[in-house]
């Protein structure tokens, strides 16, 4: 645990990506099994001890620290695990013997029940110093939040043992912590784990945003970028699984899809709900908002299945009847995909059509119409591109339509966490519900916490502190004097918000210190943009 704690602290304080990679790689090489596997699981977000939650930690602290002092400390530090690690009373007398190893922690917590988890966690905390306690709480609650992506951890794994990162991605899925077969393969002690017998997730191929690259449509094919969620369907040995972007299984939320793939294959597509917002009747898909009510459900009612039927618009085929097509060019895979379509139920599957355009100018015109068609934009795929994990330069591009803009007034601010602890960095903003000179009120329309630079963050933090008119716990209400230009992708009707509207991907595009608050936009202006 001490070595893992030192790794976490090192990662937190090392700004450079290379420095982080070296720290993780050194740790993975030098630490024995199973500890290194559990550390890797923690870094990739694969650790979950059901009986230990953030609430367990708060409960332990409530028995040990005055609630007011806890709240003040937590607010200042900006992180529950760190606050608890700092406030944990040192046991008297000091504990004898070695601090627990990661493996020991796992054994203890795996056996934990909801009833004895707090006692167990407390006895482990008693055996650690401040840094160890921080690492233990982060590990046990499964929420590291230290700015390390699963991808970075896998790159570090590849670097540690001089293996290819694509191979790591490939063998990763289907393995579970502490990943002993994976380490055995990487260190040369065993052949790679088999991936063809199980319905495993294969890493998605992703796109770079198109910026200044010059693209010729003889080399690239254009497709619509549908606004749903990217999914992968895997059928092996009579079992079908639906995976989301991150490799999470969502089959249970979409039984009609999971049940509709009758042959062995791995398919890539966009999960959508039937409707006519995206691309009109011909587009056949509802807005993202309609899909949202289907997400995150463990079971789905018959009524919802009827009201919001889902389907997959297919983009690609990775594996067809056991044959891995990923090395083949897009054109060949596309032909195979088209050949598969007659075997699929059109209720649940259709094919993502390519867009016919003579050149990029023509495509730009077609894309400009994407707003009315409520489509996110277009995709550009190199005709010769193999299907590779992640984003590789020059193969696939996404060309999103320009964002919508609206001027809003800052209403409330809350402190951020992590790197932004102590900074007011989560902003709620509103639009006028009428003429501000005739007594109109501001109604909150959204929340944004990115889109600004570190310098601007300091300025915003100062503004909030100097313009606070009221405090509600961690939330500060400001004097409503600052205007933000908010960029967003689309706006939808929502019952959750008082204004009746919800934005998609709102971010602060500019801070309009030059603009008086009463000149900010009104709700009607936003409502007119509803799709």
């Amino acid at each position: 645990m001490q070595r893992f704690a030192a790794l976490l602290d090192g990662l937190l304080l090392t700004p450079s990506r290379n420095g982080k990679l070296t720290l993780i790689a050194d740790y993975l090489r030098e630490t024995p099994d199973p500890d290194r596997g559990w550390a890797l699981a923690a870094l990739t977000g694969a650790v979950d001890f059901a009986p230990v939650k953030a609430g367990t930690v708060r409960g332990l602290m409530a028995d040990r620290v005055d609630p007011v002092l806890w709240a003040l400390s937590r607010d200042f530090v900006g992180d529950t695990a760190e606050t608890a690690s700092l406030l944990w009373p040192e046991p008297e007398p000091a504990p004898q013997g070695q601090p627990p190893t990661l493996g020991e922690v796992v054994t203890a917590l795996t056996a934990a029940t909801r009833a004895n988890a707090p006692t167990l966690l407390a006895s482990l905390l008693d055996r650690l110093d401040t840094a160890g306690r921080y690492a233990l709480i982060k590990f046990a609650t499964g929420a590291l939040r230290i700015g390390i992506s699963a991808r970075l951890a896998k790159v570090a794994f590849a670097q540690a043992f001089a293996v290819s990162v694509d191979a790591v991605e490939e063998y990763w899925h289907g393995q579970s912590p502490p990943y002993t077969p994976l380490f055995n393969w990487a260190t040369g002690a065993a052949p790679p784990p088999r991936t063809d017998l199980l319905p495993l997730f294969r890493p998605f191929m992703l796109a770079h945003p198109l910026e200044n690259e010059v693209i010729s449509l003889t080399e690239y094919v254009a497709e619509w970028k549908w606004d749903g969620i990217r999914v992968q369907l895997v059928h092996v040995n009579g079992v079908t699984r639906v995976y989301s972007r991150g490799g999470d299984e969502i089959s249970a939320s979409f039984p009609e899809i999971a049940g509709a793939l009758p042959f062995p294959a791995v398919l890539d597509g966009e999960l959508l709900v039937r409707g006519n917002q995206q691309g009109g009747e011909a587009g056949g898909a509802a807005s993202f908002n309609a899909l949202q009510q289907r997400l995150g459900r463990k079971t789905v009612s018959r009524a919802l299945l009827t009201a919001a039927p889902a389907f997959v618009r297919l983009y690609d085929v990775l594996i067809d009847n056991g044959e891995d097509l990923r090395e083949q060019p897009w054109t060949a895979r596309r032909a195979r995909l088209e050949a598969l379509m007659p075997r699929l139920d059109p209720e649940q599957f259709d094919l993502s059509e390519t867009i016919a355009a003579a050149d990029m100018n023509a495509l730009a015109e077609i894309r400009a119409g994407a707003r009315d068609a409520a489509i996110e934009g277009v995709m550009l795929k190199r005709r010769e591109s193999p299907y590779v994990a992640g984003r590789r330069t020059g193969l696939w591009y996404k060309w999103k339509r320009e964002p919508l803009l609206i001027d809003c007034v800052l209403m409330y601010a809350q402190r951020g966490s992590g790197k932004r602890s102590s900074f007011y960095s989560d902003f709620t903003f509103g639009c006028w519900d009428g003429d501000p000179d005739a007594g109109a009120e501001l109604l909150p329309v959204g929340k944004a916490y990115f889109g600004f630079t570190d310098e601007e963050l300091k300025l915003l933090d100062r503004h909030v502190r100097q313009h606070t008119v009221a405090k509600y716990g961690p939330v500060r209400e400001t004097d409503r004097s600052l205007v933000f230009e908010i960029a967003f992708d689309s706006v939808h009707v929502s019952k959750r918000h008082k204004s009746g509207l919800a934005m998609r991907f709102p971010r602060i595009s500019r801070i309009r210190q030059d603009k008086p608050a009463h000149e900010a936009d009104r709700i009607e202006a936003l409502r007119a943009l509803v799709t």
């Binding site: 304080l13 530090v77 992180d79 700092l86 602890s421």
Partner: protein, 322 residues
Amino acid sequence: MGIRIVPADAWIDPSRAVDRALVTHGHADHARGGHGQIIATPATLAIMAVRYGVADGAVPASYNEPVALGGGVTATFLPAGHVLGSAQILLEYAGERVIVTGDYKRSPDPTCLPFAATPCDLFITEATFGLPVFRHPPIADEIARLLAARAANPERCVLVGAYALGKAQRVIAELRAAGWQEPIYLHGAMEAMCRLYVDQGVPLGDLRPAAGVPKPDLAGAIVVCPPSALNDRWSRRLPDPLTAMASGWMRVRQRARQRGVELPLVISDHADWDELTTTIAEVNPAETWVTHGREEALLRWCELHQRRARALALTGYEDEDD
């Protein structure tokens, strides 16, 4: 803008120029220039002379010797243990005793006299680190981490960000106490204050300006600079500096991260939570006023321990660099 002593028509640590000021210690947010009369310890006056030039109205007040302020008020400067020359000010008036702590700490410091806990009726305490998360570890542990980081990175230099008055000299003195006898290199802004400490009888060993030293010669060296220079253009002259910062705020990881510090050293010249609370208990005043810092938590502690207390909102004090 400070604490006003009404019957004597004087101020303690005023943030604007006044006719008569009592100054607890030499940090710029407490000791401003331009006052008519300045009453402070000789060391504080010497520090202010370095900063603002020699003041005509300087009145030295030795530790533990009462000064009559007029209007029936007597002031006695008591050691505060914060930095060289730092003082608490004991005010006596009509049989009542008030102590203004200024900034203080209780942990040992080879560069100044230790805090003298003194009974009083009203105790006006600082609360810079007034949250229970702040527990400063023994400084020897932090110095050992600094030396270990240096030894582990022979090609780099360790650049320590430390407040130019007090913190820098304390870190240097503690490095010497830990056996580090090599030259220690200084940012230009540190030089005058280090010289003053040496003149006042605080030995700091071999100190050299970092300016003009060829880059390779600084590999494996320890360089001390003000916190503002840590990630500034100035540090580009150094060989791949490993940035350290000596500050009580370094106790919180994200604060270290926000400052881009690789080696956070939890070294503070302020009282930590335990020192703040045990000092209140030890001094045992009838009433406590809590000022500049995190008042709320210390007030809560007083409430939990059935002690009369209130917040005293003073503006203009900044301790973010401590």
